[in-house]
């Protein structure tokens, strides 16, 4: 039985990391990072079959994760470090010169855990599909996971990939959409509505699941359920309801913290709501 309390503790520390990283860098994307903290913690500490100390790019016989919305790199870096991919102290170098923790993730600086660059949106799903095909060709039964934003679904390439994955029965792939309803310029519904997202994925031929991205019980249950649904000749997508800025009261309910770092005072206020549970970097 998973210790939910333990996951919550990690997630709180990850949220502290996100605030401190973006504050130190004076740049970055705290909003979506905070919103996806619970998902990343559940994924890396409970779901993925991985071997962090022995990271390889190919990742044969282990699960792979691709982040398509690369701007939420702070949450990914924090979770990768806390999971043992690289020293936690390195989080202080985020977005600084000569760092492996680039503004957007890249394998170019050889950061363990990152396999393909992302940042320019809409591309991660295609890469994940390629990786999933590679696993099939290798008779490797481990799975491929990917996360996309919801605003990112406005990119046409996503739907090229969605059509392809269903047509070619890519059934070792579990994609999650961070369905927070917000993007840089405002609510997704106002910028360019996604319409009925469930119906869209469903009509493209995917198995569609939904979950609350801030309820660990539900995340774990849904992810395990998704695993059981693999191998049935259909790709799987999970529409994950999250709140941008989750965990910091003044960052929630607005799109304004999508790409704005907290200043000194704001960082203090945010950190006062997030107790240090595992030790700061």
């Amino acid at each position: 039985m998973t210790n939910i309390k333990e996951l919550e503790k990690i997630a709180t520390q990850v949220r502290r990391d996100i605030i401190r990283m973006t504050h130190l860098a004076k740049s970055g994307h705290p909003g979506g990072s905070l919103g996806c903290a619970d998902y990343f913690v559940a994924l890396y500490f409970e779901i993925l079959n991985i071997n962090p100390p022995h990271f390889t790019l190919t990742g044969q016989n282990e699960d792979l994760f691709f982040l398509s919305n690369g701007h939420i790199s702070p949450v990914w870096y924090s979770v990768l470090a806390r999971r043992g991919y690289f020293p936690i102290s390195e989080l202080s170098t985020f977005r600084k010169l000569n760092s492996r923790l680039q503004g957007h993730p890249t394998p170019a600086e050889h950061l363990p855990g990152v396999r393909v660059a992302s940042g320019s949106l809409g591309q991660g799903l295609s890469v994940a599909i390629g990786a999933a095909i590679a696993k099939k060709l290798h008779n490797d039964r481990s799975l491929v996971y990917a996360l996309t934003g919801d605003g990112e679904l406005q990119e046409g390439q996503i739907w090229e990939a969605a059509m392809f994955a269903a047509a070619k029965k890519i059934d070792n792939l579990i994609v999650t959409v961070d369905y927070n309803g917000k993007q840089i310029d405002g609510p997704v519904d106002e910028v360019c509505s996604l319409g009925n997202l469930y119906a869209k994925w469903d009509s493209f031929g995917w198995i569609v699941l939904e979950m609350n991205g801030h309820d660990f019980q539900e995340i774990l249950h849904t992810m395990h359920h998704a695993k059981q649904l693999t191998g049935k000749e259909k790709p799987i997508v999970i529409l994950m309801k999250t709140e941008m800025g989750k965990g910091v009261d003044f960052m929630m309910g607005t799109h304004k913290w999508h790409g704005t770092p907290p200043n000194d005072e704001q960082a203090q206020r945010a950190l006062s709501q997030l107790p240090e549970t595992l030790g700061d970097f």
Binding site: P107, A108, V116, S126, L137, Q157
Partner: protein
């Protein structure tokens, strides 16, 4: 100096297709992707013989590049094929992020490059692809001259560990390069020795440069002919040693003047050996419909244009 003899006439894309089939037999890591142009790319035999290693992506080039990157990450050697136009400008950002910057072992197999695509017109003719691709860090750019060279280049491309842009064409052209010499990425080939001018040619223009050589000889002009099949990295040593001797250069390519082989050579000379250079390439404009020969004629990509450029550059040298 290399011996060459015209054995037959073939399209360069068929050299790619034949090599891909052979690679498929030799190396299980080789996979191929195509965006609904399997016949045009000469990938049918590979697709027929290795159905599980052939991925028909449909008309979705951006998705194809991403899938290729994912396959490369998994240890495969993906050849992603389309027309040069749809495999460069259309997907520049995808190539940039998930192939070049991510340094994935993806091979971009670009057919129907240049004006010799012909009748389909300017929407399909790309004359800027070499420029686009040589601008991209981590990218190797290869533009073979005939069937045999394309065949060898395809093998070299598969053996190279990293992103490669392999550019070939549609029309049937003389097949004359030797298959007994190894094809080495980044190493140019000296076809004719001469003392008066260095002609540096790539792709379909190599044959025209060799035709020009005969005519120039009758005019008592001794041209040195260098084939640069790898535009990036450029064979700096071979080019500089030749130009040291001849003191002037003509470049010839089926590409815009902007961004192509001529640009690369001019930059090299400006830095190391500033001497007169003339460019046989297309001016800053789009193409149009026509037969390949008509178009090469109209846009100045001919044997005669090379001869004129040689006369002009020699005059500048002696000035």
């Amino acid at each position: 100096m290399k011996k060459y003899i015209v054995t037959d006439k073939k399209d360069t894309r068929s050299g790619f297709g034949a090599a891909l089939l052979e690679l498929g037999k030799q190396n299980e890591a080789v996979v191929a992707l195509c965006a609904d142009l399997t016949g045009s790319l000469k990938m049918e035999e590979f697709a027929k013989n290795f159905p599980t290693r052939f991925i028909q992506v449909g008309i979705a080039e951006a998705n194809m590049i991403g899938i290729a990157a994912g396959l490369a990450n998994g240890g495969f050697i993906p050849f992603a094929g389309s027309f040069a136009n749809f495999l460069t400008g259309r997907v520049y950002d995808q190539i940039r992020q998930v192939v070049a910057y991510s340094n994935k072992n993806v091979k971009l197999a670009a057919s129907h490059a240049g004006i010799t695509l012909g009748e389909d017109g300017a929407t399909h003719q790309i004359m800027e692809d070499i420029g686009l691709m040589r601008m991209m860090p981590n990218m190797i750019v290869i533009n073979p001259a005939d069937y045999n060279q394309t065949y060898l280049a395809t093998f070299a491309t598969a053996a190279w560990n990293g992103p490669v842009y392999l550019r070939f064409g549609r029309p049937v052209v003389p097949n004359f390069t030797s298959t007994s010499e190894p094809f080495v990425i980044g190493k140019g080939i000296l076809f004719e020795e001469g003392t008066d001018v260095t002609i540096i040619a790539t792709g379909h223009m190599l044959w025209k440069a060799l035709e020009a050589w005969d005519i120039l000889k009758e005019m008592n002009i001794h041209a040195e002919i260098i084939n640069i099949h790898t535009i990036k990295p450029l064979d700096i040593k071979l080019i500089l040693s030749s130009v040291q001797k001849t003191k002037c250069v003509v470049t010839a390519e089926e590409h815009l003047k902007n961004g192509g082989l001529g640009d690369a050579v001019a930059q090299l000379l400006a830095e190391h050996l500033p001497l007169p250079i003339e460019f046989v390439a297309m001016d800053d404009c789009f193409g149009e419909s026509g037969t390949p020969d008509e178009l090469m004629q109209k846009y100045g990509l001919t044997t005669e244009a090379i001869i004129k450029a040689v006369q002009k550059v020699i005059a500048r040298k002696n000035y």
